[in-house]
Symmetry: C2
Subunit: 467 residues, 2 copies
């Protein structure tokens, strides 16, 4: 009501406020610095001030602040096989592919330079890959190309979650990006704790029922069935089947995130939930960060569920969700799509053979990490230091239990004083947990660096007082 610069009685959340009366501004309002607007973090959306939203940045900045530390902090993929020449090669390969299909040159140029379809232009290439590599048989119209897994998740959540009582169930511990996407859309998340074999389907059913008993609606469940980040668990086949039954019984959409399944040992690849999904319960969220490269920021969403509009027409859920994608970022980068499209074409639309060498790299690194831990902590020392670790069959991560609280402050001390960094497991837990565990990401460290890193970590653990 006031048109002057005096602060209103209730500070506006997210509102820039010039506090011309020093000291009169409320706690969440802005202050001035030399007549210019200044803000307090609390005045912004609550997610901005949430330390959980910032943990990834803190981890990556730690790597920059302590450049001499060997970093087990991240899940960055191996990049020793990257060559700048590949970029133009694959763009050219995709252009040639379009030429071979008879697309006129001016349309190819337009595809690369102009505004393109919101859902992308390489959906058919991705659908072909999914048929060969994952036994997922969906039409191109069920695929949406996105700015990485993260945007695929955001789009799926936005479409499915309509009101404040709609709740997301998530495996816990979980990749922070799922909590983050939900938080940005003000979607509440309820954790479902996992065991050594991943999520127990009955625990999912119980969590859904508990949410419903509280007067809210469980809408979807997020999980990584294959080599979960951060726990490395793999959901057994029988649990996969039962989970789909539970999803039907509890009216849940399953959001299946599968960044690491491609790197399973020969003969150990598990069927994705989506490939088992005869009822249309699953939305599959994919990424080319690990199979191509992270810089492309390219991922995809598979949603073949039919959606009927008010006019009676039916489109796939992926097509329907294009309205959300359009308002998040319009289409995805044409360059990134062309490079990934070129990689898919060049490899006959199957990435499994092409990534076999890469899988071997990761499996070796996992083994070296396990061997080094065993060397420094032989069984007779486990009790003394309260050290234990899990033995994943693949993926990018393993978890070490330690006998003391290992949070961000301890990680920074370890990076500074011991020259090795990692990630506190507590940052992946929803609603508490993991305070005495650390996550080791070994995917971006050469075997020699892993051996040295584990030696440094062993010194840190040995010298940390149990508490």
């Amino acid at each position: 009501m006031s048109t002057t610069t005096s602060p209103a009685s209730k500070p506006a959340a997210g509102q820039v406020r010039a506090a011309t009366t020093p000291g009169a501004a409320g706690a969440s309002s802005a202050t001035t610095a030399g007549g210019r607007v200044a803000l307090r973090q609390e005045a912004l959306h609550a997610a901005i001030a949430d330390p959980a939203m910032d943990s990834m940045r803190i981890l990556s900045e730690t790597a920059m602040r302590f450049p001499d530390a060997l970093s087990f902090s991240s899940g960055a993929p191996y990049d020793g096989n990257h060559d700048l020449a590949d970029l133009s090669f694959h763009i050219d390969r995709y252009v040639k592919h379009l030429q071979e299909r008879g697309v006129p040159q001016h349309r190819i140029t337009r595809t690369l330079f102009q505004y393109g379809p919101v859902n992308g232009f390489i959906q058919d290439d991705v659908a072909q890959m999914l048929r060969q590599d994952e036994n997922i048989d969906v039409p191109a119209e069920a695929v949406m190309i996105t700015h990485g897994f993260q945007e695929a998740t955001l789009v799926a959540l936005r479409g499915l979650f309509a009101g404040p009582d709609d709740v997301l169930l998530s495996v816990s511990p979980a990749y922070v990006g799922i909590r983050g996407a939900a938080r940005m859309l003000d979607i509440p998340v309820e954790p479902v704790g996992e065991g050594p074999d991943g999520l127990d389907p009955e625990a999912v059913a119980a969590a859904a029922r508990a949410v419903r008993a509280g007067g809210r609606r469980p809408v979807a469940l997020y999980l990584v069935p294959d080599f979960s980040n951060p726990s490395g668990t793999v959901l057994p086949l029988e649990a996969r089947r039962r989970l789909l039954e539970v999803a039907a019984e509890e009216h849940l959409v399953v959001l299946e995130d599968n960044p690491y399944g491609l790197f399973a040992r020969d003969g150990e690849a598990m069927p994705t939930l989506k490939s088992l999904d005869t009822a249309g319960r699953v939305i599959y969220l994919g990424s080319f960060a690990k199979s191509a490269f992270p810089g492309a920021r390219l991922g995809y969403l598979v949603a073949d569920q039919p959606v009927t509009g008010a006019d009676g027409t039916t489109r796939t859920l992926a097509q329907e969700l294009s309205r959300a994608k359009a308002m998040f970022s319009v289409g995805s980068s044409s360059l990134s799509q062309a490079v990934v499209g070129g990689i898919l074409v060049e490899n006959g639309h199957t990435l499994r053979p092409a990534t076999r060498d890469l899988a071997a790299v990761y499996l070796e690194r996992l083994q070296v990490t396990l061997d080094s831990l065993a060397e420094h902590f032989p069984p007779e020392r486990h009790a003394e230091h309260q050290v234990r670790w899990n033995t994943p069959r693949g993926g990018f991560f393993l978890t070490v239990d330690v006998g003391f609280e290992a949070g961000m402050a301890e990680m920074e001390r370890c990076a500074r004083d011991y020259g090795v960094s990692w990630a506190p497991m507590s940052m992946f837990h929803i609603g508490g947990g993991g305070e005495r565990q650390i996550r080791l990401g070994f995917s971006n460290l050469a075997p020699e660096a892993i051996r040295e890193g584990i030696a440094r970590l062993a010194r840190f653990i040995s010298e940390s007082p149990l508490a």
Copy 2:
């Protein structure tokens, strides 16, 4: 509370529901098709079913459905100057730039292939360009590279809008992307109508006061001061200064969107609001869709306001907003950044000279459109057909008043029967308006096509009964 598959009494919004009892499902719940999940559009987030969110898609599909129609529907930039070879050239140019600055080759390779900083790696290049081209002097830390203007908007809105009573003021008519971004975040938008000289600052003040009088908080104002989409208006200098005063008085952040300012006539370029913004009221939202190319999906956000965290440290608002950006899409495409970075480097970090020829192309197209309209509708025919149009000094669009309702159905009929398409102005109005106006986007049509298109449009208008 039920754990069976029978539908609960209240259908869950956004919830997939298997209606095993045919006919028992509520209107907004899912139905089954052969035992598979099927959805009704109403079960999804309300924005998905909102026709306003889908108008862009309908326009672009119309172009595909009626390939023989000349399209004034879009604001796609001129693409006659695009050459596929430019892509590798500019990537190479950026790589060379990094080499010249002494960046080791393995770090360059990592920059292109690996996960990168959330806020991007070409902020300094963009900051240099802003100093030269827009007289906007901010440090690189105040710049965030985004997946186009659309993501920049989404990030800014997410950060600034904290609760359900926070309201966005927007110029009306406006680009649908602003309403769309707000809608996806459940942010209410209040329109501020504009006149022939764009927004009246006093109308902005009145709108802010009205929102406050209704018990809600006006947090920010969105506008395009230069050649607004769709109206083509340019805000006069005095109004720019007054608008910044109003923003201070009403505690508003100004979201300045400037896709077309680069293409002003020689000597007519206006200072951006951000360059006049001594108080830090403005967040500047930029795009390379028009100065480089749309396929790159690259834009940026300029937010130099200092934000103090709970720990007393101060960072720029752009840095603070990286927490939202991280959860929307992590970093932006490295390929797109390298290409745009290469363009900036190659042009000495100023795009004004490089885009002079392009500006001439658009100004010619504007003139041909105006001349063709004048030819078909000489002054003596204006009254007969109730036809009038505005005369923008630049930009991509002009507006034609017609003597009948011109909605999406009329546009489709015009495309089918008369071979020319356009955009209904009503789709840009917030809260109604523009029902008897059409927007002509002339940026992607050659002069000859414009002449033919206006001739076809004139037939359509002449043959449409006034009503």
